[in-house]
Amino acid sequence: MKVSFNELQALSRKAFMGIGFAEGHADDAADMVTWMESYDLHGLEALNRGLEHLMNSDPDTRPEILYQDSDLAVVDGHHLSVLRASNLALELAFAKARSRGLSVIKIRRCHQRQLIMGYLARLSARGMNITAFWRNAHDPLTEQVVGFRANSTVPSIRVYAVEEVPEENEANDGITLVMANHVDLLPTMRSDYRYDLLAKHEESELLAVRERAMTSGIEVTPELWLRLKQLAHVTLVESFDASRLGAGPAE
């Protein structure tokens, strides 16, 4: 079924509220999912895969800063989804980059990392150059680099498989981010090692996809839509005769 961008954003927000996200954090999570989906970057698929995990994670668990100095921070995501664990960590990196010109932040142990792109788009629109790097799989080893030019809402994305796997190949479920106030950090493939480019999304191509989504709507499976509605329903108050008066007497 087709839904509008606004409709998906609004229902996702309510669903996140239903799951237990605090106000504002639910907006951010909904924006991240909807942003991904509007560029056909499989935001809903990622959400669908991670929904049970999101529902089962303790709402009181928060990302924790393990180390920080003026330019650098290491954050433990405590196995939370980036929908729960990334917005304030990214704001921390943003603040450091604003103050120091460049910052590096590592968010360790986090899930649904793909979805972080939606929040990066937001920071980029505030004038920040950003590169995010993470490994998607370890056998074969695939890596993803996402780069946002400052004030652009669309990234350049590269996904590639590395053929010459380094000896040290411990599972890496973190994301490394570099933010720079003044310097372009777009990914350009240049390597002495062999790699296979699996996916490459250019800014112009993504803009065209977005335009299509705004014109024709966004495809959602009826099952996921129903699931989101069920989660959103938790935020509503049951109705009874007296409560109808809460909107004023019938005319």
Binding site: A22, H233, S239
Partner: protein
């Protein structure tokens, strides 16, 4: 260049203080101005030579069926598709929880091919329960004023015009009960419209659909009369057609919009305040004085004719009439000094009701179309709350104390100050008010009251700051993430003057009607007729030029635009050229 800009900024007349303007009671006394969206739309249509024509008219003898109107602009083509269906009387309710209506309609971008028409026919009548097409820009529904409909059809069928009194009492044949835009139920997102030159002003697509519905209401009544008595039926006189508007019935559903879109509200109020400041700074001419006298008289007569059931509103209207009566002789006799408009508003502020003050302000704005109408372009904004994570916390504290002093001043230990809570019902997500401590659902409260949120965040920030004097905003939020949304809003809105409504939406004395009226006035609604504290009926486009006048491509756009505060044309049997009504106050 920079010097010129700075010079211009320095010479801009001062605007009123936000603490005065954003007071909820004052906002609840606003009346539509020439910047209201219904007025802007009519101006735009005339300026750009829009044409509205009937493309398809398939109604049976009961008035049921489908009708399509084409809206042709220089930039695009749109269609308003209307479905009129029989409705049992016991199903006719204006509440959002209704499932059926006398008619449903939508504004479509582009042409209506057969396949699209079939999809629309299946879904538009279902409204929220349907899956709507992404080429629909607006969907809406409306119920009949049964009494007026019967009076109109009977009179026209008998070769007579309906009595003007009928329209004085109820200014429409149909009233809409919700007008949806911005992606609701699958229709086009606002993002689709923001670069569309036809609908770049807020709510202009919605207003277009409602304006076309007004034409349908006239044509449907005439169609029914012709079917009832083909030999004797007559069309509705132009004066009465023009005096007929479209009603709207609105409840609490409108209230959350004002809280959730403070950046947009800032643009609207800022434009109005800027217009007022510009008007007040003008040196009045004799012509302007006469024009203001004429407008005061017109507004007075409009209020005198406005019939409302609500006792408080009746008192308020009567008081404004009496206070306008005080102004008229003064304005006629007073010396024409350079600061006359300032004298007038100073006097009104000191001695008259808030309703009259805002009426005078609206009429002053009306005097100066050229500088004021340019402000239309400032009324839309791309909304986004953003954090400033590197803002020192001490600066944030000072910002709250300066900009949100009204929120900090409220005493929430007083039970009266936390009496109401807002929530959404499972019934079509209708916003409702509950009494804290009595009604169920407080744990699912909608965070619409800004003042208590600001206070909570301020207290948490204060204690964090005591322990961490050099902290940044982000340090505080990492420790207290629950405050993120409130802080983000505070930082965003601190850049604006008029976005936050300075009132406590929890307070027992809070009147939700003020919220509804704020938005309705910017939309351009007249005849504000409260039905209790949470429900209101209003009328749009009463007195507005008709479709046939628009299609005639008017050349005098100033006269075409001059349709505010419509009052009755007298007995329609004394037929009058509608173009004469606008300037000729002797018709009052």
């Amino acid at each position: 260049m920079i010097d010129a800009v700075l010079q211009a900024a320095r010479t801009l007349p001062p605007m009123r203080a936000p603490s005065l303007v954003m007071d909820l009671e004052r906002l609840g006394s606003l009346v539509p101005s020439r910047l209201s969206f219904a007025r802007s739309l009519i101006r735009q249509m005339a300026r750009q030579r829009w044409h509205i024509t009937r493309q398809y008219f398939a109604l049976d003898e009961g008035g049921y069926g489908e009708v399509i109107y084409r809206v042709q602009t220089p930039n695009g083509r749109y269609h308003v598709v209307i479905f009129s269906r029989p409705l049992d009387d016991d199903q006719r309710t204006d509440r959002v929880i209704a499932n059926a209506w006398d008619l449903t309609f939508g504004l479509v971008e582009g042409d209506v091919e057969d396949s699209l028409f079939e999809t629309l026919a299946e879904n538009v009548p279902l409204q929220e329960a349907g899956r709507q097409h992404p080429r629909l820009l607006v969907i809406s529904r409306a119920n009949k004023s049964l009494r007026n409909f019967e009076i109109f059809v009977n009179a026209l069928a008998g070769g007579e015009q309906p009595p003007v009194q009928a329209i004085r009492e109820v200014g429409y044949l149909y009233r809409t009960t919700a007008v949806y835009g911005n992606g609701k139920f699958g229709i086009a997102d606002y993002g689709r419209l923001k670069n569309n030159p036809d609908f770049r002003y807020p709510f202009s697509a919605q207003m277009t659909a409602v304006y076309v519905l007004r034409q349908f209401s006239i044509e449907q009544a005439e169609h029914l009369a012709r079917h009832r008595a083909p030999e004797t039926a007559v069309p509705l006189e132009p004066t009465l057609r023009r005096y007929l508007g479209i009603g709207n019935s609105t409840g609490l559903g409108m209230a959350p919009f004002l809280i959730r879109h403070p950046q947009l509200i800032n643009q609207w109020v800022h434009a109005r305040e800027q217009a007022l400041a510009i008007a007040k700074s003008q040196i009045p001419s004799e012509e302007a004085r006469h024009r203001l006298l004429s407008l005061c008289t017109r507004a007075r007569e409009y209020l005198a004719e406005t019939r409302v059931e609500d006792a408080d509103q009746t008192v308020r209207n009567t008081r404004t009439i009496n206070e306008l009566d005080d102004i008229l002789p003064w304005l006629e006799q007073v010396e024409l000094e350079d600061n006359l408009w300032q004298q007038l508003t100073d006097w009104s502020e000191a001695a008259q009701s808030v309703d009259t003050q805002e009426m005078i302000n609206t009429l002053l704005i009306e005097l100066y179309p050229e500088p004021v109408d340019l402000l239309e372009d400032t009324m839309a904004v791309e909304e986004k709350f953003e954090l400033e994570p590197d803002m020192p916390l001490i600066r944030l504290k000072q910002l709250i104390e300066t900009q949100f002093d009204w929120a900090l001043a409220e005493d929430f230990d007083n039970p009266e100050a936390r009496y109401w809570f807002w929530y959404q019902s499972v019934e079509k997500e209708e916003p409702r008010l509950g009494i804290r401590g009595e009604d169920p659902g407080v744990e699912k409260e909608l965070p619409l009251a800004i003042a208590p949120r600001v206070q909570r965040s301020y207290r948490a920030l204060q204690s964090y700051l005591e322990a961490n004097p050099g902290a940044l905003t982000i340090d505080f939020l990492l420790a207290e993430p629950a405050h993120m949304e409130c802080i983000r809003r505070i930082q965003t809105m601190a850049m604006t003057a008029f976005g936050e409504i300075q009132g406590n939406l929890w307070h027992r004395d809070m009147k939700p009607m003020h919220l509804l009226r704020t938005k309705l006035s910017f939309l351009g609604a007249n005849r504000f007729d409260p039905r209790g504290e949470r429900w209101v009926r209003v009328t749009f486009f009463q007195g507005a030029p008709l479709v046939e006048e628009l299609n005639a491509e008017p050349t005098d756009l100033g006269t075409f635009d001059d349709w505010s505060f419509a009052h009755s044309p007298g007995d329609a049997r004394d037929s009058v050229d509608p173009t004469q009504i606008k300037r000729d106050e002797s018709l009052v």
